[in-house]
Amino acid sequence: MSSSEQRVRHFQDELEQLKARLLEMGGLAEEQVRLAVKGLVDRDRDLIARVLAGDGPLNALHIEVDSRCFTLLALYQPMAVDLRAIVAAVKINTDLERVGDLAINIAEAARQYVGHPPVKKLIDIPRMATIAQRMLRDALDAFVRRDTELAQHVLNEDDALDALKTQIFRELLTYMLQDPATIEPALDLILVSRHLERIGDHATNVAEDVIFMVLAKDVRHHAAEGN
C-alpha cells in the first residue's frame, strides 16, 4: 500500500470515528429530550432532576468532537468532500450540544410546571417531541448514510413542528384568558413548545449541513436569494 493510500485510509478511519461520536451525541441528546418531556407529562420530579444533572456526557463529547476536527484539519488538510465532511461535523457538533442544552431548558420549565396544578392534558407537546426527536434521528442518519433525500425530508418536516407550536400557543392563550391562575404554568408549556421547535431548527441545520457535505450546495437561508 502506498503512503498516499495509507494516508487516505487513516483519514477515513478517523472520519468514521468522528461520525460514530456524533451519532453517540445525537443518541444522548435525543434521550435527554425524550426524558425531559416524559418527566413533564408524567409529572415525575425524579426524572426531571436526572435530566437536569445529565448533560455531562454530551458536553464531554462536544469538546472531544471539536478536538478531533481540529486535529484532522491540521494533520490531513482535507480538500473537497473530505473538507466539507469535517466542516459539517464541526457545525453538527454545535447543533447537537445546543439540543442537549434545550433538553435542560425543557426540564427546567417542567420543574416549574409540576409545582402548579396541571393546566390541561398534554397531547400536542408529546407530539412535538416525537416529531423533533424523529427529525434529529433522521438528520443524523442522513449524515452517516450521506442521504440527501432523507435530509430534504427532515427540512420538510419542520413545517409540522411550527404548526403545532402555533396551535399550542393559541390553545393555551384561551386557558390564560379564562383563568389568570393558569398563566404561569401555561407560560412554562409555551416555553417547552418553543424549545421543541428550536430542536427542530437544529435538526434542519444538520440536514442542511448534510446536503452541503454531499452535494456542495448551500441551501441555508434560501441561498439562491443571496447568490
Binding site: 482535507p78 473537497a80 419542520d158 400557543f169 409555551i190 434542519t204 441551501v219
Partner: protein, 276 residues
C-alpha cells in the same frame, strides 16, 4: 408574544444559483484544441483553456499527466526536444505563437520561465540578473543596466539581502535566495507572463513561503502559470486551477471551487488524495 407563527427560518428551498463561469472572455493566453506529441506518442490531447491576465493559474495532476509539457508549450520550450510536435493553437494576446513569423527568442523574453531547481549561472549575482538585458541589448547605459538589475532584485524580494554583495558569486546564495535570483533574472527582461515549474519544491517551508508571497505580489503585474505537486500551495497561491490527468484537461475552475467542491469525480479523487 405573537399570535401567529413567525416566518420559518429555513424553508422552503429555492434552487441554488448557477456558479459564475470559471473563465471569462479576456484571455491573455488562449489554448485551443492543443495536441502534443513526442514522436508518435500523444502526451497532450485536445487541451483548450483560457488563461486570464494578472491571475495565477495553477496546473495540478499526478506525475506524467502532461502538466509540465503543457507549461512548456506556452513559450515553445518543447521546440528543442527531438521529435516533439504540436497541433492546435496557442495564442498570446491574439497572436499565434507557433506561427512561422514568430521570433522564438522574443517569445521567451515575453514569456519567462522559472524551473524546479534554481539554476543560476556561475557568475556574480549582478551578472545573473543583467544577463538577459545584455544579450538582448535591452539597456543603453551602465546606469540603466544597474537600475534594471536593482528593480528586478527588488521585485523578486531579494534586494535587501544581496545589495551589499552584488558582485559575489550567485552560487554562494541559499537555495531560496537562488530561486528568487532566478525569478529576478526572469523579471529583468520585462516579461508579460511567467511560467513556473514547481518553483518551491526543493525549498524549505520558510523559503517556500517567501516564494509564495512573491507570486502573490507579482500577479498584479504579470500573468503567472505555475505547475505544482503541492496541493496546498496551489490552493494558497492560485486564482484558477487546472487539473490534468493522462494528458487530458479534466477540469478548470476557480481554485476555491476545485478544492472545496469540484465538479468532476476524478478531480475530487485527486485533490482528496485518493489517487496520484
Amino acid at each position: 408574544m405573537p399570535t401567529t407563527a413567525p416566518p420559518r427560518p429555513h424553508l422552503p428551498r429555492a434552487p441554488v444559483a448557477a456558479p459564475e463561469p470559471a473563465v471569462q472572455a479576456t484571455a491573455k493566453i488562449d489554448v485551443s484544441g492543443l495536441d502534443f506529441y513526442y514522436g508518435t506518442r500523444r502526451v497532450l490531447e485536445q487541451i483548450s483553456v483560457q488563461i486570464r491576465p494578472n491571475e495565477v493559474t495553477a496546473l495540478i495532476g499526478p506525475s506524467g499527466c502532461g502538466k509540465s509539457t503543457f507549461l512548456r508549450t506556452l513559450n515553445r520550450m518543447n521546440d528543442i526536444v527531438p521529435g516533439a510536435r504540436v497541433e492546435g493553437a496557442v495564442t498570446i494576446d491574439g497572436q499565434d505563437i507557433y506561427a512561422s513569423s514568430v521570433d522564438v527568442v522574443d517569445l521567451r523574453r515575453r514569456v519567462g520561465m522559472v524551473f524546479q531547481r534554481s539554476n543560476p549561472f556561475p557568475k556574480s549575482i549582478f551578472d545573473n540578473v543583467a544577463y538577459g538585458l545584455r544579450i538582448n541589448r535591452l539597456t543603453t547605459s551602465r546606469e540603466e543596466l544597474g537600475g534594471r538589475v536593482e528593480s528586478s532584485l527588488k521585485s523578486a524580494a531579494l534586494w535587501e539581502e544581496v545589495k551589499d554583495r552584488l558582485h559575489t558569486s550567485a552560487l554562494s546564495l541559499s537555495g531560496g535566495q537562488q530561486q528568487r535570483l532566478c525569478i529576478a533574472r526572469a523579471l529583468a527582461v520585462e516579461p508579460e507572463i511567467i511560467l513556473m515549474d514547481e518553483p518551491a519544491s526543493a525549498l524549505d517551508p520558510i523559503a517556500t513561503q517567501r516564494i509564495e508571497e512573491l507570486i502573490y505580489q507579482l500577479k498584479t503585474r504579470y500573468t503567472i502559470v505555475i505547475v505544482t505537486h503541492n496541493m496546498q500551495q496551489a490552493a494558497r497561491v492560485s486564482d484558477v486551477t487546472v487539473f490534468f490527468w493522462l494528458g487530458k484537461l479534466v477540469e478548470c475552475d476557480r481554485t476555491d471551487r476545485i478544492f472545496t467542491a469540484p465538479t468532476e469525480k476524478l478531480t475530487e479523487d485527486y485533490v482528496t488524495g485518493r489517487f496520484g
